[in-house]
């Protein structure tokens, strides 16, 4: 019962958030300089043709009318079509006009549908790496504050947080892929291509996770029920894994929610460096080409992912600690 009411309430809030984000992005995109039709039709297209195409596409209507038309499509699951990309494949950039008619342009939903799984695969692998590493370093550190595991965790996270992701990406690609030939790096021809970018992302994620885990475990270990648990006859292993970790996991989960959302931004640079065909690369190109429908589509999908992740995190947190129910 609680779960249903929680989900209904939060999903309704989430829908509102996504709507506002869409409105904001839509309006801002219409205000920024640069005419997408000029880009689509090519620099050599006559002014009259551009006006005609713009009229046809409804780009000269008031922004709110355009938004209404767009939203009515969105609720039917139609995110529109790319201004630039043909359905057949790669981006044309539109140096000539007339070779790509509207009917052949790619559906935004299809473009996102092709790239999102790639990015999710990368993100989940990165989080898995980061979690495993953070648990291995952070738990011993939290259990012995002030002693050597704690100091190791501190140094490791200090070093990791100081490494810029783009630099680490280049260095690792050079080392592991070019010099040693262990892992492939550029492009995507199979799962192995995900590993290297995931490692780079994990290095960026783990310092904050390690610090939070260390702090929350060491503070969980000072709670009275831990000491009393020992006197009640619970084994040290049970105390740590069934109780301390459980109580320490709520702050970690909240952090993870934020981290995953941040990851979708961090992925931009890394995908660009590794030429990884994910949502990040798609976003960069869409922005460079002023491909309004695509940018909007990506914004809606990403904000929906943010909202869903936060709902999931809050739900899991209340399942772990029922006092958070409200």
């Amino acid at each position: 019962m609680f779960v249903i009411s929680f989900l209904v309430r939060r999903l309704a809030q989430g829908a509102l958030i996504i709507f506002l984000v869409t409105l904001l992005i839509f309006t801002l995109l219409r205000i920024v300089p640069g005419d997408p039709v000029r880009l689509m039709a090519g620099g050599m297209a006559p002014e009259a043709l551009i006006e005609q195409i713009a009229e046809e596409m409804g780009l000269r209507d008031p922004v709110l009318v355009q938004f209404g038309r767009y939203m009515s499509g969105v609720v039917r699951g139609d995110l529109g079509q790319s201004f630039v990309r043909p359905a057949s494949g790669a981006s044309t950039g539109g140096s000539s006009f007339g070779d790509a008619t509207r009917g052949e342009r790619a559906d935004v939903l299809t473009l996102i549908g092709e790239t999102l799984p790639m990015t999710l695969q990368l993100a989940f692998l990165a989080i898995a790496f980061a979690m495993i590493f953070s648990f291995l370093v952070g738990i011993p550190a939290g259990l012995s504050p002030g002693r050597w595991p704690d100091r190791v965790a501190f140094y490791v996270s200090s070093i990791f947080i100081s490494l810029p992701g783009f630099w680490l990406g280049i260095v690792l690609a050079l080392l592991l892929s070019v010099k040693l030939g262990w892992l492939p790096a550029i492009g995507y021809k199979g799962f192995a291509y995900t590993i290297l970018p995931a490692i780079v992302l994990a290095v960026e994620l783990s310092p904050v996770l390690i610090r939070t885990l260390t702090g929350s475990i060491s503070s969980a270990m000072t709670m009275p029920f831990i000491a009393v648990g020992r006197v009640r006859g619970l084994s040290q292993r049970r105390i740590i894994f069934a109780h301390a970790l459980r109580n320490a996991s709520v702050p970690l989960l909240n952090l993870l929610g934020i981290q995953i959302s941040g990851l979708l931004g961090g992925v931009l640079v890394i995908e660009f460096i590794f030429d990884y065909p994910g949502l990040g690369l798609l976003t960069i190109n869409a922005v460079l080409q002023r491909d309004f429908p695509l940018i909007q589509g990506i914004a809606i999908v990403t904000s929906a992912i943010f909202v869903l992740i936060n709902i999931a995190v809050d739900l899991i947190a209340t399942l772990i600690d029922p006092r958070l129910e409200y």
């Binding site: 009411s5 029920f225 000491a227 009393v228 006197v231 009640r232 084994s235 049970r238 069934a242 029922p322």
Partner: protein, 607 residues
């Protein structure tokens, strides 16, 4: 005493720190615990009781260190046992502490954690059998609907319930002995009395010997066969409780006994009746305060917590007015209404003829100046990184004083008045004792020369000696400045000593208002009697707990039953009490009680 002792402690010493800085906390303690015996250990705060209690269950963590001696159980010194072997012995050695709310993991159901403990100390026990045993025992300690309670979380238990659950947790493995460290201390008096009765019953049923550690001699007297008096870590006297009280030998025991408040004997302080003045200082009229909280497990439903219900009383100038009641009775909400931190939903609070909710701007500032609050917790109520002088200067600045020299002089004058040494001016509150901190709190209120001080459990966290000193200070300040005090407290003995008139609250309602003497010698409401029956005192009780209180805890303020809210615990309740709610009825001399038995001829007979 029969057979060989369960536990024998020999020359036990515990130090804090190591090397040259080591200081003994417990030294040279020796005693035996016979099977089924209850040994009480008593001492003031800081006497080493808790450390001793922990040493008995081999729970000494750095910086504490066992310095000497042994704790022998089954002819082995448990202090020498390694972790694993000690852990299996936990089945036979149980411990219940003073902090029931912190003792279990807040994120897991209570029942499951007790089962977890049982299967940790009795490896291989069948889970469904363990579950059944825990539910049976939860019923045995009179937790209502144990099957449902099994799956509830610690935050859904009240303090008293939780302490019962922990007693179940301790006894579930049939231990040979149980160390109970100050188990009744955090509980309300009526609940503490129930828990104490329960412990005695259970130890007989389960054949468990008990070491009962407490700072309250009256409590130990109720429980123990044999009392050890602990002073500065040493046992200074041992005897049976009655002989100890009748003929104490050691000066420390004498001192402990002399500090136990007197309630009914002639030594008890006589508090004068209040003179009725023309206009009351505070007049609270039919005030009600309800909080809305979201109902668990529903979509958008709210339930109403009725924290204060139709409260009406007057406080006269120069009076000491007491508000007593147990936790959750609405005392603190009432304090928030009186100090204008919140407004009543209906009714009004009138101070010096002005309705508080209508005060704005300058008049509000004036009211704040005249009505000052002194809070309960001496540790959290002072900012830790602000010097004491600055803490005391702040209110003066807020109220418009600008001249730095004058401010300093005023602060120093107040510090002298509350007997704080002037050299504390630039100190941080860090090193102060609880009593000194409470003086800083009083000084912070007094610096504005208020007319009314509202004391919300101000003395509860202090030990008897310090309480005496502060009460003397309050008396002096009252004589000098003509102050009016409102004491909000659960401590009836303190109220008996200082308050002219007392209002008793139960579940948000005032059930009785009476002058001091009348309240303690001829209470009009059965709840007042129940409270009096549970006051820890060595005197012959005027009211016996067995006659005054049924088992159970106050109903939740969310789902109030119809009729009198005390009916579920009242031994005199009859049909009418469960149907309609009694209103405050005049007895005489302006004394009121909300009970159908008051006023009618049946009243005397039933009382």
């Amino acid at each position: 005493m029969n057979s060989s002792p369960v536990l024998s402690v020999r020359n036990l010493g515990v130090d804090v720190g190591t090397g040259a800085g080591a200081r003994p906390v417990v030294s040279d303690v020796s005693f035996d615990l016979a099977p089924r015996e209850i040994v009480g250990i008593i001492g003031a705060s800081g006497s080493g009781k808790t450390v001793l209690a922990r040493a008995l269950v081999n729970w000494i963590d750095p910086p504490l260190r066992i310095a000497s001696g042994s704790v022998e159980y089954k002819s082995q010194n448990i202090l020498d046992l390694a972790g694993g072997r000690m852990r299996l012995l936990r089945r036979e050695i149980a411990y219940v502490g003073a902090n029931p709310m912190g003792a279990l993991d807040p994120t897991l159901p209570v029942g499951r954690q007790i089962v977890e403990k049982l299967s940790a100390v009795v490896p291989g026990i069948d889970p469904s059998e363990a579950r059944k045993r825990v539910i049976d025992l939860l019923g045995a300690v009179r937790i209502p609907s144990p099957r449902l309670r099994f799956d509830e979380y610690p935050s859904q238990f009240s303090g008293g319930m939780m302490q019962r659950a922990l007693i179940v947790d301790a006894l579930v493995s049939n231990p040979a002995f149980l160390v109970a460290d100050n188990v009744t201390q955090p509980l309300d008096v009526t609940v503490a009395a129930q828990v104490l009765r329960l412990m005695r019953e259970l130890t007989e049923r389960f054949d468990t010997a008990v070491v009962f550690v407490s700072s309250s001699l009256p409590t130990v007297k109720e429980a123990a066969d044999q009392v050890l008096v602990l002073s500065e870590g040493r046992i200074v006297e041992r005897n049976t409780p009655q002989r100890l009280i009748d003929a104490p030998q050691h000066p420390y025991t004498l001192q402990l006994i002399s500090q136990i408040p007197k309630i009914w004997t002639s030594e008890a302080a006589a508090v004068p009746r209040t003179q009725n003045a023309a206009r009351p200082t505070i007049s609270i009229r039919d005030a009600t305060r309800t909080y809305r909280v979201r109902k668990r497990g529903t979509f958008a439903a709210h339930s109403e917590v009725r924290a204060v219900r139709n409260v009406t009383f007057d406080v006269m100038p120069g009076e000491n007015f007491g508000v007593v009641g147990e936790s959750g009775c609405g005392k603190s909400t009432l304090m928030r209404l009186l100090s204008r931190l919140e407004f009543p939903d209906s009714g009004s609070v009138i101070c010096n003829g002005k309705d508080l909710s209508k005060l704005r701007g300058k008049t509000l500032l004036k009211f704040r100046r005249d009505f000052q609050l002194v809070l309960q917790d001496p540790f959290n109520s002072l900012p830790p990184r602000t010097s004491i002088g600055a803490i005391l200067e702040d209110p003066l600045r807020v109220h418009g004083m600008r001249n730095a020299k004058e401010i300093r002089e005023r602060v120093l004058a107040v510090m002298a008045e509350v007997e704080l040494p002037a050299n504390l001016y630039d100190e941080l509150p860090l090193g102060l004792s609880a009593g000194q901190r409470q003086r800083v709190n009083v000084a912070r209120a007094m610096v504005l020369e208020p007319k009314v001080l509202i004391m919300d459990e101000t003395l509860s966290s202090l030990d008897q000696t310090e309480q005496f000193r502060l009460l003397a200070l309050f008396e002096k300040l009252q004589a000098q400045h003509g102050l009016t005090y409102v004491f909000i407290s659960h401590d009836l003995a303190m109220v008996r000593r200082v308050c002219n008139r007392v209002a008793v609250m139960y579940l948000g309602e005032v059930v009785e208002i009476a002058h001091n003497e009348r309240l303690f010698f001829d209470p009009g409401h059965p709840y007042t009697k129940a409270l009096l029956s549970a006051v820890p005192t060595l005197e012959e009780r005027r009211y016996r707990p067995e006659d005054c209180l049924l088992e159970g805890e106050p109903p939740s303020p969310i789902d109030l039953p119809p009729g009198c809210s005390f009916a579920s615990r009242c031994p005199h309740a009859f049909d009418r009490c469960r149907a309609e709610s009694p209103t405050l009825t005049a007895r005489n001399h302006g004394e009121l009680a909300a009970c159908f038995l008051v006023g009618g001829p049946g009243a005397r007979a039933a009382a």
